[in-house]
């Protein structure tokens, strides 16, 4: 492979080791690598407790993995269970990204997740050290000194090399640094035999590759790209490029979202079988998403409702849920949108117990004026708009629970309980 025309930059993919558990260790004065901490969400929908994160020591000594259940965690006095505080983790993540901005320009930094960021250091690394590895160590040291956290750094000549270096090598390296270059691709990427270890290859993709007799990264690199394209479409070419460590992404290049939309979803605290209870939650989620599109001054023309059935039903039944979409007249009126969602639900639901509900609004148009309908009294339409505006104002000013529908006090309603959650977990404001 001739790499001469490929971009040769310096990219760092930096990950915070066991981020949530490390944050909790640091605020307790404990060493993140030595403490045995389990961050456990004990919300009603977690069936007694769900492990969100574990410290490296908890993983090593007791094999507790993320998303384990409360029952899988041994009852030992040396395992410290702590509740999650999403706001603390967001605050720490922002602080870390601020430190990164001292090493690369803001447009050269891509926060990939709450605990991972990609830095394009091509233009700036020479300002800080003699080699990319030395600069990586300086950043690691800085974060350790200022925040008490340990970071792992993957270094590559493009983003995908940096990501693979992070996942495959840095996390297992004593210095917590890994590096992949174009010339080291054959010895670093190709020996991988477990394809799901590689970023972007999941169980299903691995299975499909196996059908093509591709079981290792070396076989993927030496496969026929046209055959991959025929099997996977454009992703086939991407997989081929991945095996050769090729990625032409430019972080500074802004990409527009193909079809923007707003959505909210939730896992219910138990299986819901009663028609009225499910409708209350759909109404609550629908109103939340409607408020969000109004806040961003959009109208929606496409609404979607996703319903996931209970685990037991999904196991035995033909379908695990349903997802339906409907094109409607452009609106952001809560009442209209909720009516449409409920009518979709009535059309598709056959009395199965429900565990997940998702609502999304897409096909967005700018809210530049109100289109009145000829089939409804004008006064009524204006009144509905005014009601939404007043509710939005009160909720923005005084919080979402300052004004709720009486139905949110009915059994099954979740809005009031979920108001303080961040990303479905405890925000932690109650402790401040």
């Amino acid at each position: 492979m001739n790499y001469a025309k490929e971009p040769h930059g310096v990219f760092f993919f930096i990950d915070n080791k066991s981020f949530y558990a490390s944050c909790e260790s640091v605020v307790r004065g404990l060493n993140p690598l030595k403490s045995i901490i389990v961050v456990m969400s004990e919300q009603a929908n977690t069936n007694g407790g769900l492990v969100l994160a574990t410290s490296p020591m908890a993983k090593k000594l007791y094999h507790i993995t993320n998303v384990s259940r409360q029952r899988d965690v041994p009852h030992r006095a040396d395992i410290l269970v702590v509740p999650p505080r999403m706001n603390l983790y967001i605050k720490m993540s922002l602080k870390i990204n601020q430190i990164y901005q001292e090493y690369a320009a803001a447009e050269d930094i891509l926060p990939y997740s709450i605990d991972e960021s990609l830095l394009d250091m091509t233009k700036s690394w020479r300002l800080f050290g003699d080699s990319p590895e030395a600069v990586a160590k300086i950043i690691q040291h800085r974060i350790r000194q200022e925040m008490g956290l340990y970071t792992t750094v993957g270094i590559g000549e493009n983003p995908v090399q940096a990501k693979l270096a992070l996942d495959l090598y840095a996390k297992h390296d004593d210095q917590l640094v890994g590096e992949i270059k174009y010339e080291t691709v054959p010895e670093t990427i190709w020996p991988i035999t477990n394809l799901t270890d590689v970023w972007s290859i999941g169980q299903r993709t691995a299975k499909r590759l196996k059908r093509l007799h591709i079981n290792t990264m070396a076989e993927l690199a030496h496969s026929n790209p046209y055959q991959l394209k025929a099997e996977f479409g454009i992703v086939g070419y991407q997989l081929f490029a991945l095996a050769w460590g090729i990625d032409r992404t430019s972080l500074a290049e802004k990409r527009s979202v193909k079809e923007p939309g707003f959505s909210n979803s939730q896992v219910l605290p138990r299986d819901y079988s009663k028609y009225a209870e499910i409708r209350v939650v759909i109404k609550e989620i629908g109103e939340q998403v409607a408020a969000r599109i109004r806040a961003h001054q959009w109208l929606t023309t496409k609404i979607s409702l996703g319903i996931g059935f209970s685990y037991a039903v999904a196991q035995q039944g033909e379908r695990s849920g349903f997802h339906c979409t409907k094109t409607i007249e452009a609106t952001n009126n809560s009442h209209e949108l909720v009516c449409e969602l409920l009518s979709l639900f009535d059309d598709y639901w056959n009395e199965e117990p429900v565990r997940n509900i998702a609502v999304s609004f897409s096909g967005l148009m700018h809210d530049s004026g109100e289109q009145l309908s000829l089939f409804q009294p004008v006064k009524q339409q204006l009144k509905q708009t005014a009601v939404d505006q007043v509710v939005d104002c009160i909720q923005t000013e005084f919080g979402i629970t300052s004004l709720v529908r009486a139905s949110s006090l009915l059994p099954g309603a979740t809005m009031i309980n979920r108001a303080s959650l961040v990303g479905g977990h405890n925000g932690g404001n109650a402790y401040d």
Partner: protein
């Protein structure tokens, strides 16, 4: 400006919520001098017999000023008589009594 009375009030509220005085359960206050965040963090360590200990965050006092911390801790100690574990105060002394705050290293941060 940190007002000790306000901080004590918040701490009292949160301690009252978590200190449920269940039988066969040890309750301790875990107090951390957090040099990274320039704060003193309070946690309730709840350890039921034969079960995993839980560490519940109570409050963060956003200062390292020992005069303020001493005032807050004196009031909390007086009201609850809970065992207090100090972390991160190595070598530091209470301003009034000049006693060592942390008599031994609990953990090495």
């Amino acid at each position: 400006m940190i007002k000790p009375e306000q901080e004590v009030k918040i701490l009292q509220q949160h301690i009252d919520q978590t200190f449920q005085r269940r039988p066969n359960t040890i309750y301790r206050l875990w107090i951390v001098r957090d040099r990274f965040d320039q704060s003193v963090n309070f946690f309730m360590l709840i350890q039921p017999k034969f079960r995993r200990p839980h560490s519940i965050p109570l409050h963060m006092v956003l200062t390292l000023d020992l005069d303020i911390i001493e005032t807050i801790i004196a009031q909390i100690r007086h009201q609850y008589h809970l065992t207090m574990i100090f972390v991160g105060f190595e070598g530091l002394r209470w301003p009034t009594s000049q006693q060592l705050i942390q008599s031994h290293t609990v953990v090495k941060p």
